[in-house]
Symmetry: D2
Subunit: 339 residues, 4 copies
């Protein structure tokens, strides 16, 4: 199941060490402004080698649009875009041919598929998420035209046991990108940097959390029962390999869970912008917890991995949430309800 | 979107105060033993009025099978089953006609649908979950025949800020049902009971968490990328109204998130039975966090609500997880991989 | 696969001799006027025992709405409606228990499902089509509100080798229903009647064709490639058991197929209202060919079957086409295209 | 809706004059032998410029596999393959920029999408069908491994009003390809050639029919009601632009429609291999009727079009039918029925 969405749908393909990865977006209407440069800029935010904090695997990740766009506008036809794998140093991985990497899904995958693509993680590689960024960026271009109030911003909210404070509303991606940790909290991000670098040096890794916040959503977005916005965001984020928990609500929600109902419901932000499965007009607030990456220095020193993937995962989560919103906007458009 | 699943699919219908609620299960193979009594027994575990801890709204919830079963075996055709609403005391709700219940989705729902079914929550009511129990019970009957090693058991793991200890493997539903809290921890469940009763008396409510554990799964269950078992369970549980967070892993996962990777990955149970989005042969372990219910005594004393819905939600979560498993088993059957 | 549609979706269930048959319609917006009587009237047009031409199996086929409608308006929630099988004289079929009926799918069905529901055709029975009429009638109620120009009328255009002439535009269902053959051609319908009665007496049967015409459609309805209106109508009609051919275009299309392109394209009605897979604003014109029914007198004199099912199939085909249109209207609404 | 299939699914993309066209196949199991050369050979059968009978638009149509295949075996991951448009002489079409081509969907398309890609037909171009051949060839590679008895062969059965006789069972693609008309009937194919060449010279065009025959299918393939093999084949073929009618049964079925039931059902081949919507073990027999192509010499002499597209459509139809079968085989695998 490599397709996500009902109306605005993305299909992803490509292995980490095959010829190319890519995405096909079906359901984007005609007339939406879209350039190769916009997708490229989004991929550059996810790209390895951006800073000392992330893997040096320096792939240029140049995107090419194959269909669906003409003279910088969408045609209403499927938009296919690919990124070729230019830096396939699979020799690095040759030594791993017979070894299942601890903490990796290698053994499980081999049991199911009767083989393991020893060239790297194959489809289980985090590299697969670049396809989601292609899809999400197209979703954002569409929303920018049809629902320009919407702003989706994710940021690193925890690294190891260092927890950031909650940023004010109005946070922008530029503010998040201003620091290589992609944490907007001035009080902790330098220490986060130091810990990530220390983990890198020690061949170790760090997990934590990313918060996604969407401002400017209309009231009532979401489809009843199995298409609730909270169910679809859960599937969208749950499909990201390293994510191990999803929470809808303010960052301190789990602490408030223990409260009595009278106290819990006395503040409105406790709903994270969702009631009855639909948006309530308040900012949508979601948190995703990340495991520390599994690949450790001694097992894969030839491989080039991240001590902490969260800074690079920020655009991936924004993309997944944008895909959900684009799909639900079309579903809401589809059926005007009247008295 | 009132349908869940790709191959083993459940479609649910019915409002809390309309003539009936029900489910249609499509994709159950022919020849599976299934009786009305089995579905009835499952519904009885979810039913109001089971104990002093839950709402007294004493509906008998008698299920009737309309199709798909002949001489106590499935026919391979869609199985439809319904429960009539016999206790529709909608007069109780008449007073609420013009009032949006605080903490409820009433205002949001009215904005989207241009009306609110004032007879009660309509489709947003927790009563909708009985349809899921019908579907899940059929999924379990199917799995019992085709994958008899599988055992899915949920239990209450937190009430308010009272946290239960982790039960040993081999936990059964009978062990869970032995106490009205559906918490298997002898050390805390009496105190849980007391707190629920106190909240009830005070017109207050309590949240907490339920853990779901599945033993006996084969290795490799799940579909790549958007059909990962963890993504589908997230959607399945995220679609339950009161759930506000989902976590795949052991109960103390969030505390371990802050650890360094070397430490985090040193114990295998940290994966909750899932690696690379597929089952790894270990017990599957998922936790769902619940908000305290929103309806409080002073606003809806006529209505009949639960101070703590978790004891009754246990079979609902088991059902949702069983639906995911049944669907993924069929998807795995569909495509034998070979060398 | 007992569900049809992407956004406006119908799920059907029920065996011909089980407790009930029914349908769940998901995706109908809120606020659409809908009464039980409207669905009943549609079912009465499909019902056995309407005239001497059809099977006397006189089931009242009383429909009951279980959900999704309140005070004669849709709620935006799934609409479930059922018809109980009151006239289950399955004793009539007892003698058939071990006999595969010639021309029937009994042997094929048993090979696949390892059993045959000997109480009658089960899900392969034409009785299943009443579920489609429930779904189609709800689609029509929805279209009446949101696209009131649309008028879908089907009529019998051939019985045996007797071919009717093409009726003028503006044909109504009342005009079609004015004769028990549901053929509007005064010149042939009496002869059609006579032949059907003769076949009935001889324990024989007759096939032919039904034409469906839709006037008042907007330009551009249909989704590219696999969602072309002509592809979806083909699936919709191809799913009806007795249909053995589908043609988009005027009734004499097959004769014109042999023409040179210059001649063929010189008349616009040759497209049947479809170009590039989308409606072109002209009346949509589709023809479905029917096999003569397989059940013959000597094999099933106890069973009660139609010598010619086409008069009763007219509302079924209208329903299937209305379901396609309702779904495509929502898909068109979903994505406004701009310059 | 550019995706076809439930389990074995193909997503197509690309405009006739954009950078590339391609397909992503999701759901092919791992371990299936598949080479670039196999796909290329299939595309060569569909390619323009094969003979004097078809358009000279001589595009090499070189396919490149981007993912899903490693060392000539499928990985179980999505298989993406593309064909670049090297011969984009869009200058030829520049003159058409403001002119809607008669018989084409240009006006309809512009009304819906608010633009027309004047570089050629865009997605409505027949060139889109090469994506289907990519998908269908992968389906055939899969079936060859998992259901090696299956043989799907299509052939031209009518050109203009020249009708071929029915070939014996055991027909192969090589036998069909032995003549540029792809008609196996020695008695008419030379005359067919002459007429096509005459139409070409006159700037005219010809329609007709193609028959598809599948031998070696198991009994019981197909899913009840809306997933009947005949419904899915109808959608599959109905999605091909030039097809204007689909018939399941022997070539002379429409003549037999007028017979009495006793006569009609006296020969078994009248079912075309389908009963109750499932395969019955006999050869599957389907016929598709084609309109003469719309583009005429005087309007598009710069464009390079076919006087008769059927010879090139033969592999397209085989591909669509193979996609349906691959999908249904997986659905049948998914749910073993037992007594």
């Amino acid at each position: 199941m490599n397709t996500f969405g009902t109306l605005f749908r993305v299909t992803t393909f490509g292995e980490s060490h095959g010829p190319a990865l890519g995405a096909v977006v079906d359901g984007c209407p005609a007339g939406v402004p879209l350039t190769r440069e916009r997708i490229q800029a989004a991929l550059d935010r996810r790209r390895p080698g951006q800073s000392a904090l992330v893997t040096p695997r320096n792939e240029p990740d140049q995107v090419e649009i194959l269909s669906g766009v003409f003279e910088d506008k969408t045609l209403g036809t499927p938009i296919a875009a690919i990124v070729r794998n230019t830096n396939q140093r699979s020799g690095d991985y040759e030594q791993l041919k017979q070894v299942d990497r601890p903490g990796h899904a290698d053994a499980v995958w081999r049991e199911r598929y009767k083989h393991r693509d020893h060239r790297g993680g194959g489809r289980t590689s985090g590299r697969e998420t670049l396809c989601r960024v292609i899809g999400g960026t197209i979703a954002e271009a569409y929303l920018e035209r049809d629902l320009p109030t919407v702003s989706t911003v994710a940021y690193v909210s925890q690294v190891g046991d260092l927890v950031a404070s909650v940023p004010a509303l109005g946070l922008t991606r530029a503010m998040v990108d201003a620091h290589p940790t992609r944490c907007p909290d001035l009080a902790v991000r330098e220490e986060m940097s130091r810990r990530i670098l220390a983990a890198k040096e020690a061949g170790d890794s760090l997990g934590g959390s990313i918060d996604v916040r969407v401002e400017g959503l209309p009231v009532g977005l979401g489809e009843p029962i199995f298409g609730k916005i909270k169910a679809l965001i859960a599937q969208a984020l749950g499909s990201v390999g390293a994510i191990t928990g999803v929470m809808w609500g303010p960052p301190d929600l789990l602490e408030r869970i223990g409260q009595l109902g009278t106290q819990f419901h006395s503040v409105k932000d406790v709903y994270g912008g969702i009631q009855g499965g639909l948006t309530n007009g308040e900012p949508l607030q979601v948190r995703a917890y990340f495991k520390p990456p599994a690949t450790l220095a001694d097992h894969a020193k030839g491989g080039r991995h991240d001590p902490c993937i969260m800074p690079r995962a920020v655009p991936v989560l924004e993309s997944m949430v944008s895909l959900v919103i684009a799909d639900l906007v079309q579903q809401m458009n589809a059926r005007p309800h009247t008295l």
